[in-house]
Amino acid sequence: MREITVRVNGRLSRRTIKDNELLLDFLRDRLEVRSVKAACWRGECGLCTVKLDSHLVKSCLVLAVEADGKEVKTVEGISPEGELSPIQKAFVSHGAAQCGFCTPAWVLATHELLQEKPHPTQADLVEATSGLVCRCGTYNQIREAVAEVSGTTARPRHMKESLARA
């Protein structure tokens, strides 16, 4: 047992934890940050993605104690209170979420990608999201949403080219 202090989405939290506690469980169970999900618990699906200081990590493979004195950002922390970030807006308008269980991770990952590279190439997107999976298969919509935010396309493709009445 030990006490740790973590800044999560700007708010400082101090909690007593067990040494074997995972950052995933710390965030979900102690701080009730429920946007952070898990689907494999072994670093394959990426649903537990969070930003730890300056990098994205998979929180099912990080001990809570390792976050002591650090800063954690989740999807709750990417946009000002009550507003949607550009990528969140684009996810909505392009229908880039189906069941939604993986969506927070995808939003966070693509948001960070766009912060780092405002005009990512396809290869950049593939690389940045290679650790994430979406079973509903919203990849094409996510791709369109990222393209819209980066200025590659002006409007949702489904409106025109790619879905047509026969």
Partner: protein, 287 residues
């Protein structure tokens, strides 16, 4: 071998975060068998969830300054500390043309988030057959520096990996660094095939040295057997330079000679075929 987590919580342990190598060694001496070292924790945490490891002490080496460095030591080579993550190593730009094989192998390990956490030493110490860094290190004649109560020792990566998930490391010992020896004029490259899997079904690491009159080639195959396998017969064919014919002969020879296993990812016969494919691919790039 890593086949999935029945459990989602970790066994009970005490976490240590030493600041110096001496402290690490003291903790190892005190807890020995009961302790496990943690770099990025990628392998360790997954193994602990599967109860393949249940240490009562976990020693996190990330804040040990001596272990967090990548040093170019003239006359020796590149020394990569145990706490250096794969992402840091790649971003540091220390892996030059000579170590291209390692750079290429590491750049394709899992995904950027895993590479941010995982260390080269950790990747090596897992000794999972499908992991890509061991063949790359073997192609470079890399060695590991081991520290323990009896002092320090150094051994080649090829000797360090004894079998699947089996390394030559005592309970009180630790790997402090990986050393990639200098070799002027060496060229190297890495190739793998992962079709329909996140792991390699077959990988190849090649290096060709041209230090004065002494020429040497190494072809090391990963993921095809329980440990990385060299193919001396094919190596001999490419020692004196490459040509389309030599590439073909080397690829065919390796495919024939390298022993392969069936496992959950692929059969031995497909792996034999893949060896031919990736050897051809990798040697093209060397021409």
């Amino acid at each position: 071998m890593s086949f999935g987590s029945p459990y989602v919580t970790l066994p009970d342990f005490t976490y240590h975060r030493p600041k110096s190598l001496d402290e690490v060694l003291a903790l190892l001496k005190e807890h020995g068998d009961e302790a496990k070292l943690m770099g990025g924790g990628v392998g360790l945490i997954a193994f602990m969830k599967e109860r393949l490891m249940s240490p009562t002490h976990v020693i996190d080496v990330k804040e040990v300054a001596e272990l967090g460095q990548v040093r170019q030591v003239p006359g020796e080579g590149l020394r990569i500390g145990a706490a250096v993550s794969i992402a840091e190593l790649l971003e540091g730009g220390d892996l030059k043309t000579e170590q291209a094989v390692l750079r290429e192998a590491l750049a394709r390990v899992a995904d950027p988030m895993i590479r941010r956490r995982a260390t080269l030493v950790g990747n090596l110490c897992e000794a999972i057959p499908w992991v890509d860094s061991p063949p790359a290190l073997m192609a470079l004649d890399a060695s590991v520096e081991v520290a323990g109560p009896e002092g320090r020792r150094s051994l080649l990566v090829s000797d360090f990996i004894r079998g699947p998930v089996d390394i030559d490391l005592g309970p009180n010992e630790m790997v402090t660094e990986v050393v990639v020896p200098e070799s002027k004029g060496r060229r190297s490259a890495f190739e793998k095939f992962t079709g329909g899997s996140e792991f390699s079904l077959a990988s190849v690491a090649v290096s060709v040295s041209n230090g004065g009159k002494k020429r040497a080639a190494k072809l090391v195959y990963g993921a095809v057997n329980s440990t990385p396998v060299r193919c001396p017969e094919a190596e001999r064919l490419i020692e004196d330079g490459l040509s389309p014919t030599k590439v073909r002969r080397a690829a065919e020879t390796a495919s024939e000679k390298v022993e392969c296993l069936d496992d959950v990812l692929a059969t031995a016969s497909y792996r034999k075929h893949l060896i031919k494919v990736i050897t051809t691919q990798v040697l093209w790039r060397m021409m």
